[in-house]
């Protein structure tokens, strides 16, 4: 267990450095931050001075090493665009993204598992066939289109829900939450659906096929032969076993929710780290972009770690495999 954790953390560090490296080599081609920071009438001398001040005149390896060194000390630099420490920006934006990710993750998970179980148990039912077919639309349309379409339907035509932003938020310590106000909750609905739809479809299909397989296993047959109730068989036995493989995939999917939030946040003007990233890309705000990518990698690694631990908790076979026995 401990060995596993150590390995995972070591892996995570490697991932982060690799990501940082790729990110950094990419940023060199994203444009010139100075051109963006200076007004159109800035002279060439001004521009050169600014380039120097930002350390952008240094060769790539020097810049990269400096960045890594600073990050190791917890310093993620200062945003070129808004002149604030990146870490503050991220901290300020993180609650929005995490709340959105949480809700859409829950939506994907609850909806996915629920519908997956339903369609597996009523395999040949008309409704479950319809759900299966319709759900595919969720993975057949790009997220940005789904978002825009939802806005037009629910905000413009029906006027039920807000079209942008987070609504009223409440500040609790360093965290701003939209969970405590009506407008905050209403604002969460459309972005969460947009962001979670894709994952929900995947989870649902996965749950369905896993469940169908589990329902054919010998231990389910044996459970039936023991006369257990259908409820106990479906939910006590089958669902539990279905979830084991589902957990891994779900972990990966939930991790990518944060990445896909870029698009959803842009469409809904959600003030999270994803829209921060997009603004930063436009302004070639290298420190913010690099930090964002590190953050996503870190989040992903974290989610995967949690998933693996969950795996241990759910499946006793794994537990004893690491603690010995034969």
């Amino acid at each position: 267990m401990l060995a596993f954790l150590i390995r995972r953390i070591a892996e995570a560090l490697v991932v982060m450095v690799v990501v940082a490296f790729f990110a950094f080599s990419m940023f060199r081609f994203m444009g010139d931050p100075v051109a963006n920071m200076m007004g159109p009438d800035a002279t060439i001398a001004d521009r050169e001075a600014m380039t120097k001040r930002l350390g952008l005149d240094q060769p790539f390896p020097v810049q990269f090493a400096a960045f890594l060194g600073n990050v190791a000390e917890g310093d993620f630099g200062v945003s070129f665009r808004v002149g604030r420490p990146v870490i503050d920006l991220v901290k300020e934006r993180l609650p929005a993204t995490l709340e959105l990710a949480l809700i859409s993750g829950l939506f994907a998970l609850v909806g996915g598992i629920g519908l997956g179980v339903y369609t597996a148990l009523r395999r040949d039912g008309l409704l479950s066939r319809a759900i299966m077919a319709i759900s595919l639309i969720g993975v057949s349309l790009p997220t940005f289109l789904i978002g825009i379409a939802l806005i037009y339907l629910f905000a413009v035509e029906l006027r039920w829900l807000p079209s942008f932003g987070r609504g009223e938020t409440v500040r609790i310590g360093g965290w701003t939450t939209g969970f405590l106000t009506g407008s905050g909750l209403a604002s969460l609905v459309l972005p969460s659906i947009t962001l979670g739809l894709f994952q929900m479809t995947l989870i649902m299909r996965l749950v369905r096929s896993e469940m169908l397989e589990v329902l054919r296993t010998d231990y389910i047959r044996f459970a039936r032969a023991r006369g257990l109730t259908t409820r106990a068989i479906h939910f006590g036995h089958a669902l539990k076993n279905t979830l084991v493989p589902v957990i891994t995939v779900t972990g990966l999917q939930l991790g990518s929710i944060v990445a896909f939030a870029i698009i959803t946040e842009t469409v809904f003007q959600w003030p999270g780290v994803g829209s921060l990233f997009i603004s930063s890309v436009q302004a070639v705000d290298v420190p913010v972009m690099a930090t964002y990518l590190l953050f996503v990698a870190g989040f992903f690694v974290f989610v995967n770690l949690v998933v693996d631990l969950l795996y241990f908790a759910v499946d006793p076979r794994l537990r004893s495999a690491t603690t010995g026995g034969h």
Partner: protein, 510 residues
Amino acid sequence: SDPADAKPFRWARGQDAPTLDPHTENSNQVFGLLHQIYEPLIHRDQDGKIVPALALSWGLLPTDAKTWQFKLRPGVKFHSGDAFSADDVVFSLKRAMDPLAGVRTTLAGVIDVVKVDDLTVHVKTQEPMPLLVNQLTNIFMMSQKWAEANKVTRPQDFKNKEETFAVRNANGTGPYILVSREPDSKTVMKLNEGYWGKGQFPLQATEVVYSVITSAPTRIAALLSGELDFVQDMPVQDIDRVAQTANLKVNTGPEVRSIFYGLNAGDPELASSDVKGKNPFADKRVRKAIEMAINREAIQKVVMGGQSAPSGTLIPPGVNGYSKELDQYPKWDIAKAKALMAEAGYAGGFGVKLNCPNNRYINDEKICQATVGFLGQIGIKVTLDARPMAQHTPTILKNETDFYMLGWGVASFDAAYTLDSIYHSRDKVYGAYNATRVVEPDWDKKMEALGTETDTAKRDKLLAEILAHVKDEALFIPIHNQLLAWGMKKGIEVKVQPENQLYVKYVKID
């Protein structure tokens, strides 16, 4: 209407001001937001006319062509309650001239600012500066006391890795007081009850909620759904829909911004062309042919949905140097253009790459696409490289483009502002955006002379001469001047300002 009624004004733009520090950045977004909170000495009103703000009157000292005197408005208070005085003006102008200040180029040439008495300030310039007043309309006045108390006596320095107080806090003399700010998302301001202009301006909005919505369809959706009262950056294609919506309307007006192409006529060979050993753009006939092949009216009608004014010069109307005659553009004539191409020895055409931004000007990428089609008809095979502005600008600044789109707003409302940056050959001070690689030392001198010539008539003549030359050379192919479209609820009354800046104090709400 009863002024006691609380009237929120919900306003959205496509991009936020990155900072609230009035001197760090020279950008339309910063000025657009800060004009509600801070004020300059001199204002450009909703029509673009120069009007007094914190300075009541100004003028050159009769004795000294290099010293301007400003008489300040008495009785003005900052939001913090401190009184506004000459000390603050001296402090603010000097702060704006700091090497760290993004706005310092506007004050290039100013050498000193002196307090004469509490309500009089002198500004001394190196050379005579006839246009100084034009340059001051976006230089905001800060409170020296507040700045000192909050350690923001200098603009943001990226070297020290801390946030300065002025980035997210503001203390101006303006009509609205900052209440809260979530960068890139929402900024709330409330009416300044102690504003000096009370009674002079409508000041009807009691609260201003300024939202940023990057995605254009979402922005329009929010207006359509009633979540917004006012959208400043209207996508052209939605104007009709909004205008036809029952309780919405669209106000339009000219912006002081020209869109044009630049051609690399100075290099011996075009890096992106298949023609080797010579530069087709060096041939004036080719440049003229290009000018003639572009159907500006079609661009106006189809791409811009009518929201542009086709142009023949780099200078928009309203700017010093503009004339109707200069603005004539050649008739769209493919046959003639082809003939010119043949005459120049390029009957078979040639290939070249066009660099274009895709997120800066109204429908920039689409205009470029249309241009690719037009030039294709006279045999020029254009490959389009459309990128975000952040990547586009360096190609110009580093001379990596042969054919580029550029838009230029005229902050000082004088043509010299444009010419200095895009036509003067490149050196440490001038020509940063000139990628034509053409060097004409005589004309450079003439342009430099514009900066110091105080005799208006003489200066105008010189300007006209230079502009005529630019037009004749066709190093630049003007396309059009942008029109601005502001969408709003019916019942709101405001004129479109040519700098694309909204002063909420002028807004009337029914």
